[in-house]
Symmetry: C2
Subunit: 198 residues, 2 copies
């Protein structure tokens, strides 16, 4: 088709969403323009507000539009337990799935020297400051179980040791409901080595 | 999680996109805020512009931000052949896939009496006006091959007959590259009945 101007630009812009290719973007654009213009306008406004107003929490670095996020600002949350995660999405899933009532610290990434991501890029200075206050009794390392996530957990665990803070790592093994037949060998080997008293 | 304010509102707004549920919306929101704020801002602007500026072409009713769409405004397109489609997306796919160089007419739907969609809702008045000019020699009925699409094509074909305009229907049958084993019986029966000299 010739230059369809605005419609084509909208489709290109929609491609910036993760998991959205040209075909889905086209479908989204037509859907919004033909059936849900109000929704499209609302989305436009929310995107602009979110991009402009959402920053990082002063204490835990998660995404929030206020200076302190809800968790950090909540005096009922246990300040003695700090859960270290890679991304703000991890804070959400942990808070939704578990009964954890401590606080969080978001690294916004993982140690990856090849990509130029060292401790400075992950807010380690802020994390060390919090450890130095002596308030934290346990540091739960909930980084991903990728090689880099493990390395990051290891590194933070060593720093915690210097401050005499107990560092724990979330358990890895066979997922609940998982059938052994379909588990990858790395996970299965890990589950065997990490077996516990029944 | 407690009320995450703006972030949660953004996620809800993203759910208005077709094929996007709460999980994908969450992933999109985090992606935009963490990795592509420029893209998010650009998308916000394009959405607002598209919703405000894109309307319908005066002649063919397709989506366009100008009074006449590119196809209708193009004097090189053959005004004697008119292709009738259900949606603006169909205009795109036909223009991309075929060598059709005529003009289009977009119904924005199909006849569906149960949903209260009759000829008036599909711009039949405008279509009849164009047929009445005597300029159109062939009307290609390219509505979908659903029951309602077929009924719509049949209805328009009868009107075209009154104006002595030749009405043709796009061919239906086994898709190119399709294996007979996997074709539904309705299509196969249609392909048999519609067999042509080889």
């Amino acid at each position: 088709m010739q230059n369809q101007g605005l419609l084509k630009e909208l489709i290109q812009s929609l491609c910036c969403l993760p998991g959205v290719g040209p075909k889905s973007a086209q479908r989204m654009a037509f859907h919004l323009l033909q059936r849900n213009r109000d929704g499209g306008m609302q989305l436009s406004k929310m995107l602009a507000r979110a991009v402009n107003e959402i920053g990082h929490c002063r204490e835990c670095r998660t995404l929030t539009e206020t200076e302190l996020c809800e968790v950090c600002a909540n005096p009922l949350r246990d300040a003695e337990t700090l859960c270290v995660v890679e991304s703000p999405a991890d804070v959400w899933v942990i808070d939704q799935a578990t009964t954890f009532k401590g606080k969080y610290f978001v690294l916004h990434g993982r140690l990856s020297p090849l990509d130029g991501i060292g401790p400075d890029q992950l807010g380690f200075e802020l994390l060390e400051q919090r450890m130095a206050t002596g308030q934290i009794k346990e540091l739960i390392l909930a980084t991903n179980s990728t090689v880099e996530g493990q390395a990051t957990a290891h590194f933070i665990g060593e720093v915690a040791g210097k401050f005499n803070i107990r560092a724990t790592r979330i358990a890895h093994g066979v997922p609940m409901g998982g059938e052994l037949e379909f588990i990858d060998s790395g996970t299965l080997a890990h589950a065997f080595n990490g077996r516990r008293e029944f």
